[in-house]
């Protein structure tokens, strides 16, 4: 044992908070999935689809995603630097401020305070709060790394550093706005320029919230869980630098066929295709790591979470670039295909990897074993099935929508009215809700398992004392 204490309380606090906000976000997600086919589930003014959808996306990206990232990055950083956090009290304040900010954020979105920038909906006072949160995080992470006790920085730390820097740049620039009151502001940028800034932000928020920190977890917890070192250090170097370089060029693939200058769109498409390489660098590294001993899939219950997670990441990073191509974009853009794509990443890759990381962390913090591997396995299969139902139904109905919008009669006139194309989504939207319910039940198994592990750990500690 070392002569110092890791700050486990803050890590725990962030993990439990992120699980709480995750439940809120998932339940709102279920609610809006029902509103899609049953408009009577809209309860104006606070609970209409237009307001709830942003509570769903922000609740999960910032509440579950960023909350888990804060907690787990603190956990990883302390262990990779072999020292406690440089400012443990600041980290504790960080936790309280985080929860206050997310609670206010949710309330403000219910109230309709919305900048109308996707994934940057929060109004300017909350943006200031988010920036403060991020600065606290950056100070603690950098301070701890600079004062580290282990000379070499492991792969996960590279991804954490890239996350800290890039999210700061993205968030500050895209949220520059003209305040017009305490709860209202207008984007500093207008029209095509506004669109270009927003999607430079929007796409890279995916890159540096749903990708790089999750890869940091993957590179840390996969070897930790399996006891197998990462297959290729050199491959991880190439994958890291090419990923963080190429990501920032690709935002405009969200704006294909819009009035944005063509050259920016084309450049974005080119770099989007290029991104397959660094993404698959990590995928291949993960597979080859476990490939040295596939029996780990059976003997260690966490291995399958990481392998399925990285598999969905691999599929995601093939599907995404394909969608960027003009010929594909014209068919599936603006349809339900896109939510299908996004949720494969968030429900398949992000949630799978974050849940596995939490399964690894919690028993170690409480100095015990996981409450039930059986429940963890049930959780695994339920979220897997739920996510597959979600994504596959949305891909089918997305292609259907795109095709119906384009369909013409022999005389050249449009074959379907908009309403006719809308109603054909309903059966798929209903199936999506079913998939969502299955996923939610899976997550409840996860939460129960974590809760019981904590209880077990606490009673063991009490018995010892």
């Amino acid at each position: 044992m070392s002569d110092y204490q890791y700050d486990n309380e803050t890590v725990k606090g962030f993990i439990i908070s992120s699980i709480f906000w995750g439940v809120v976000g998932i339940l709102v997600g279920l609610w809006i999935s029902i509103q899609m086919w049953a408009p009577s589930w809209n309860i104006p003014p606070y609970f209409t689809f237009g307001r709830l959808r942003v509570v769903h996306t922000n609740g999960l990206a910032f509440g579950l995603g960023i909350g888990a990232i804060f907690g787990i990055c603190y956990y990883i950083t302390m262990r990779l630097t072999k020292r406690p956090l440089l400012f443990p009290k600041l980290a504790r304040f960080h936790l309280y401020l985080f929860n206050a900010a997310i609670a206010l954020a949710a309330l403000s979105l219910f109230a309709g305070m919305n900048q109308s920038l996707e994934y940057a909906e929060l109004e300017w006072p909350l943006d200031v709060g988010v920036v403060i949160l991020w600065v606290i995080f950056a100070v603690n992470i950098f301070g701890t790394i600079i004062k580290r006790k282990e000379e070499q920085m492991y792969i996960s730390l590279w991804f954490i550093i890239a996350t800290v820097i890039t999210v700061a740049v993205l968030y500050i620039v895209n949220n520059l706005s003209i305040p017009a009151g305490l709860f209202k502001s207008y984007h500093l940028f207008a029209g095509v320029n506004s669109a270009n800034v927003e999607w430079w932000y929007g796409h890279n928020a995916v890159g540096f919230i749903f990708t790089t920190p999750i890869l940091a977890m993957f590179y840390y917890f996969l070897p930790k869980s399996t006891g197998i070192p990462i297959y290729s250090h050199r491959l991880s170097i190439i994958a890291f630098w090419s990923l963080v370089f190429a990501y920032l060029w690709t935002g405009a693939h969200h704006l294909i066929y819009t009035p944005l200058p063509d050259w920016i769109q084309t450049l974005a498409i080119v770099f989007t295709i290029f991104l397959i390489a660094p993404s698959w660098g990590s995928v291949v590294n993960g597979f080859y790591t476990v490939g040295t001993d596939w029996s780990k899939m059976q003997t260690n219950y966490l291995t399958k979470f990481f392998i399925l997670g990285i598999t969905f990441y691999g599929l995601q990073t093939i599907q995404g670039p394909t969608q960027g191509l003009r010929v594909v974009s014209q068919l599936i853009h603006y349809t339900d295909w896109v939510p299908g794509h996004v949720h494969m990443g968030t429900m398949g890759w992000v949630t799978m990897t974050v849940a596995a990381s939490i399964y690894y962390i919690i028993p170690r913090i409480y100095d015990t074993e996981i409450y039930s591997e059986k429940i963890a396995n049930t959780h695994f299969y339920l979220v897997l099935i739920g996510q597959l139902i979600f994504s596959i139904t949305m891909w089918i109905t997305g292609i259907q929508q795109g095709a119906l919008w384009k369909a013409v009669n022999p005389d050249g006139s449009l074959k379907y009215t908009f309403m006719e194309t809308l109603v054909r989504n309903y059966p798929f939207w209903k199936m999506r809700t079913v998939g969502g319910v299955i996923f939610t039940i899976g997550m409840l198994f996860f939460i129960y398992n974590i809760f019981m592990t904590i209880r077990k750990g606490k009673s063991l500690a009490a018995a010892k004392a």
């Binding site: 509103q35 408009p39 104006p44 237009g50 959808r53 942003v54 309709g112 305070m113 919305n114 109308s116 600079i146 070499q152 920085m153 730390l157 550093i161 890239a162 820097i165 890039t166 740049v169 003209i178 017009a180 009151g181 209202k184 502001s185 207008y186 500093l188 207008a190 029209g191 095509v192 320029n193 506004s194 669109a195 270009n196 800034v197 927003e198 630098w241 963080v244 370089f245 990501y247 920032l248 060029w249 935002g251 969200h254 066929y257 819009t258 009035p259 920016i264 603006y334 339900d336 896109v338 919008w405 384009k406 013409v408 050249g412 006139s413 449009l414 908009f418 309403m419 809308l422 309903y426």
Partner: protein
């Protein structure tokens, strides 16, 4: 030497920052400094106070979560919505509201497409127009009065021109008034072109008679279609409401009988104010149904209207 950077966090952070800023500069920052990112159409006007208030509500209610505001330059998309979007249309859009999902239809060309009364009624009860629509009801916006002082502050923040009367005017308006006013100005800077049709619905030179004239089956079908699509404006028995009474033929300002294919034309293409058709000047306000109804359906409606006229 190459491994050195992984032992020097400050150096690592500096290199990483430079690496992420290259793509940022080339695709985002440098273009921002060039005129290509700041185009403005000649007849584009800043939003009025009422329109801006409506746009604020559009943002607040998250309309952009289900409606896009950009028509792509694709043939069928131009047929469905109208002229494709131009970069210069959005110079006053802080932020852009192009959206990324079409749960509902695109709205880039919705301005002026329907009369105000249509929008009021549609916001109040979308399902009255489209029984299977999943749009939430926005009737409650009628109960909220605008706050002129707040809107004035918003106009000032954006530097849009206004006179005190514009602000004075707002105090009697509701949020629904503002929203309708905004919706009606979307896309107004782009000249409306007739939607390209592969073939004209009916020939102009000689009249085409209704293939279903007097057919009881078609009349029954037409009645059904009328109830779903037309009654909301013309009344359940076509006695008139937002739209004119259809049973007395007066709405056509016609001397003598009007041929079936003129009915077809009007239902198919709608009318714009001042449009002259065979010597008659239209008041405008009729919505085109060519995207909603098939030719056979339109002829059935014509047969139904004929069957109730003069009764």
């Amino acid at each position: 030497m190459t491994g050195e950077i992984y032992r020097k966090p400050v150096m690592f952070a500096i290199v990483a920052t430079v690496v992420i800023l290259i793509g940022t500069a080339i695709t985002m920052f440098i273009p921002m400094l060039t005129p290509q990112m700041h185009p403005r159409l000649e007849n584009l006007k800043p939003f009025t106070a009422l329109q801006l208030a409506g746009r604020d509500i559009y943002q607040r209610e998250g309309c952009n979560n289900c409606h896009t505001q950009t028509v792509r330059p694709l043939k069928t998309e131009v047929m469905r919505y109208g002229e494709y979007s131009k970069a210069g249309e959005f110079a006053y859009d802080h932020p852009f509201l192009w959206g990324s999902k079409r749960t509902g239809p695109d709205l880039a060309r919705v301005g002026g497409k329907y009369p105000d009364a249509w929008h009021y009624r549609h916001f109040e009860n979308p399902q009255a127009f489209f029984a299977e629509s999943n749009m939430p009801v926005y009737e409650w916006l009628k109960d909220n009065k605008l706050d002129p002082a707040k809107i004035e502050a918003h106009m000032k923040a954006l530097g849009f021109p206004y006179i005190p009367e514009d602000i004075e005017l707002l105090k009697d308006k509701t949020e629904l008034d503002a929203l309708v006013s905004y919706v009606q100005v979307i896309g107004a800077s782009v000249t409306k072109k007739a939607v390209p049709m592969a073939t004209p619905a009916v020939t102009e030179k000689e009249h085409i008679s209704n293939p279903f004239a007097g057919d009881p089956k078609a009349i029954a079908a037409g009645k059904n279609i009328f109830a779903k699509n037309c009654a909301v404006c013309h009344g359940e028995n076509a006695q008139g409401d937002i739209g004119p009474n259809l049973t007395d033929k007066a709405f056509l300002y016609a001397e003598g009988d009007v041929p079936d294919d003129d009915y077809f034309e009007i239902i198919n293409n709608g009318t714009t104010p001042g449009m002259i058709e065979e010597g008659r000047t239209a008041k405008g306000g009729m919505i085109p149904f060519k995207d909603t109804l098939s030719k056979d359906e339109i002829w059935s409606v014509v047969a139904y209207i004929r069957s109730i006229q003069g009764k």
